[in-house]
Amino acid sequence: MGIVKRLRKYIIYEKKSIKNDFELKETKSVNCGKAKNASSMDRFDSEELKDYFEKCPDKDEYLEEHVSDEIDNNKRIMKKIYNIPENSDIIYREFNISVQDENYQAFIVFIDGMTDSSIISNNILKPLMILSNFDIKQEVKDAGEFIFNRLIPFNQLKKVNNFKDIVSNINFGGCAIFVNGLEYAYTADTKKWEHRAVGEPNSETVIRGPQEAFNEQIRANTALLRKILKDKDLTIKGLTIGKRSNTPCAVMYIRDIANESLVQEVLKRVKSIKVDYIFDSGELEQLLEDSTFLTAPQIFATERPDTVARMLAQGNIAVILDGSPYVLVMPATITEFLSTPEDINIRFPYVNFIRMIRIIGVIIALLLPGLYIAVTNYHQEMIPTNLLFAIEASREIVPFPTVIEIIVMEFSFELIREAGIRVPGAIGSTIGIVGGLILGQAAVTANLVSPILIIVVAITALGSFSIPSFSMSFSIRIIRFAYIILGSIAGFFGIGLGLLLNSLLLASSKSFGVPFLTPFGPITNGKYSDKIMRKPMWKQEKRPDYLNTKDIIKQPEVSRGWTHSDKGEEGGEDNEK
């Protein structure tokens, strides 16, 4: 039967039915201010302006209004604002309250899924609906005060008289209770939504050190920091970013350490951001940084509370955005991007050893392909004769110049890395095998590249993996291509030119007023102990000079009292409790 139908389709011509006649209509942005002015000046005859006025959203205007003592008005406004009953997750419930034989109409509004419904039922609705009927031997002068003091046994309850604050409270997981006759509403903080628990860091793993990472909840993140920094001077300033998203944000600093002008600058920049929505600290970073076109990052993003705590104690400022597991710390200089959280926790000889390895890794990642081209094309005399013969022999059958060879391989490697990140975890390792082994081996066998080049690209890749910061790693990956080109056009002279241009670019850039190459260019004074190499823990007496902190001394000259006296007198007060 099916075959007959199919044949019929080919033999008999049938006009195809139009399945989808939808067309996306053009919309105009609505200039509400213009329409409002026109109406206020009684010039409402223009057809265009009339159209504007009708399309103008009225919810924003309601937000400016105050709570009325007539409950019907409040009901109407709340229904308008939240589009009730179309909005399925908005819970709107009307009920009655009795206060000394007098009945009051009331209603509650909250968002399902963002609030703890058992708290609302047990601590708000039950007392209001049941306790209010009990005979209380107290003369009620003010019903609102009576409800606030006696009928709602909830710890975080506020009286709010404008709809803007009420709506922001509801959007952040609270609930609002309106009572007839009162010119204010009660808002309670009842938030409880699904979130990830505090887990282990994904990108900044350490062997020795705390294994906690930030999650997407702002309050959990601030609490993690409070837990580490039990300092009364730790200050958390709450803000919201995003005209529509109203994303909560916190600016953190230690009041008696952080530079006041730096705090003001961070607050100014955060407050001045005007966007509709903001979802992640990555977006915020791009909106806050000094130079957008510089490849090097200028703000330090980390998922580790201990790193943020250490930097706050040093005099930096942290910005936490709700919904992002990465916290931004500023200002950031080159030293921050070259150190890992583990550097603090392990003994100083080990730190300096691994730092040397890491710095060599950075230099390799940045310069090795460029230097390889420069040496093989311009400075062959550097290579021992035997090795030169080996390189020449391996390159003999390759038809491309070295620069093409290396660009092809570097590009392939970047492709493998990008593909490895994007594919699901289970296939990730397969990509590595396909890319690394098969492609590399096949490229050599097919005479596309020389075997020595595979070694160069592999060592470069290892070098780039040793860079602790994800953002810095990106920067070095991009600049590496410039060095490849410079090395191929002018040998060591080109590399020298590139180093100078790169240095100029980095030295001219600033992160919140602090030059990026500090403390190396400009060289700053003071005994800051964590530059390229780290001093022993007991020698780390001062905070970085470049942060201009209020308190420069981190610990006294004699921080280990026991080295000077058995009684521990030199070391100051005893730590025993």
Binding site: V375, Y378, H379, E381, M382, I383, P384, T385, N386, L388, A490, G491, F492, F493, G494, I495, G496, L497, L499, L500, L501, S503, L504, L505, A507, S508, G513, P515, L517, T518, F520, G521, P522, I523, T524, N525, D545, Y546, N548
Partner: protein
């Protein structure tokens, strides 16, 4: 740390040292050997002493001027016209210096590394570095000098250490070389090597006045040591008759180093050190030219004149062979650079007579 425009004394010292260091590694030991014979190593000592005396005199006259730059002193002492004359004269001298060295460096690079590349191509690469340096300004150049110059000097020291097995003490005899007269005349003419000291008086507004003596004397001392060590090493390796004929002394020394079978030859390291130091130097000098012109003509921004000036310098480099001072070390050129050193002294004397007093501008001075 101060956030105002300016830099510390270490940055200034490195900036000035580099200006003398590049000349030292490129031609000074060869010139000293030519002028003083086997006693050529005495010339850097004599030149350094003369530089101390010069700087002591200059700072003596400078005492009452606070943290004013040379051009401000000109303006306050003899009016705007005098400032323009001195400014343009200084800029012209530096331009001649830049043109002469630009061609020399490009030639040297062509000899040692880029033998198949046309000269214009190498010059353009130099110009890219110079334009970028001038765009970012003196402050940024001083900042990067703080870490690039020590690396370059370390490379130079490693080269001289590497050739120690080639040293022959006999090369230093007779001890007075071509005689005392040739040493005196050679030392006087060689004072041109310290001509970048002229720039210290344009640099003062960038660093604290109280650091002037430290910057000056330390720059002269370290540069003197480099000059002395470079000349001595060169003469210890080559007998002076051969030394006077060698081009690019430190490169010639680097060619003699043998490090087993692993690194065949290390003269390419010299190319890297020389490239870094020379581009930094040319960039710094070009930035000073732009800075002086902009300040002389009271321009609000210096960026618009960078490109035209770069084109002028590039063109002049091709025509410089017709000029009498086209090669560093040429007698005419040497006299011209010594005259350049006299310019600040003349301005400072006029300023002292007119009693241009200290003004604390921009809070730089803390004396």
């Amino acid at each position: 740390m101060r956030n105002k425009e300016g830099f510390g004394s270490w940055e200034s010292i490195c900036l000035l040292i580099n200006m003398i260091f590049v000349q030292a590694i490129l031609y000074f030991p060869k010139d000293a050997a030519g002028m003083g014979g086997s006693a050529g190593w005495i010339i850097p000592i004599a030149v350094t002493i003369m530089a101390y005396i010069y700087f002591a005199i200059a700072t003596g006259f400078y005492r009452q001027h606070g943290s004013l730059g040379l051009l401000e002193i000109c303006e306050k002492s003899a009016g705007k016209v005098f400032k323009i004359i001195v400014g343009l004269l200084a800029a012209l001298l530096l331009m001649l210096f830049e043109v002469s060295l630009l061609g020399e460096y490009a030639h040297s690079l062509k000899i040692v590394s880029l033998d198949k590349s046309p000269l214009a191509y190498i010059l353009i690469l130099f110009l890219v570095g110079m334009i970028a340096a001038a765009y970012y300004g003196i402050e940024v150049i001083a900042r990067i000098s703080a870490f690039i110059v020590p690396i370059c000097i370390l490379g130079f020291i490693l080269i001289t250490i590497g050739v120690i097995p080639e040293y022959h003490i006999d090369n230093l005899f007779p001890i007075l070389g071509k005689g005392v007269n040739s040493l005196i005349s050679g030392s006087t003419v060689s004072l041109h090597i310290f001509s970048p000291l002229l720039l210290i008086f344009f640099l003062i507004p960038f660093f604290k006045r109280r650091n002037l003596k430290r910057v000056g004397y330390l720059s002269i001392t370290i540069s003197g040591l480099i000059l002395f060590w470079a000349t001595l090493s060169f003469l210890l390796i080559y007998p002076y008759e051969m030394a006077a004929g060698k081009k690019i002394p430190i490169f010639q020394m680097a060619r003699l180093i043998e490090v087993g079978n692993y690194i065949q030859r290390v003269e390419s390291v010299f190319v890297l050190v020389f490239s870094l130091a020379s581009i930094l130097y040319m960039g710094a000098l070009f930035s000073f030219i732009i800075h002086i012109i902009a300040k002389t003509l009271d321009l609000d921004r210096h960026q618009p004149i960078i490109l035209p000036m770069a084109v002028i310098l590039y063109t002049m480099t091709f025509y410089k062979r017709g000029l009498p001072f086209h090669i560093p070390g040429n007698q005419m050129a040497n006299i011209l650079w010594i005259l350049a050193l006299l310019l600040p002294i003349i301005v400072l004397i006029i300023g002292s007579i007119k009693k241009v007093t200290y003004e604390n501008e921009g809070g730089q001075d803390c004396e």
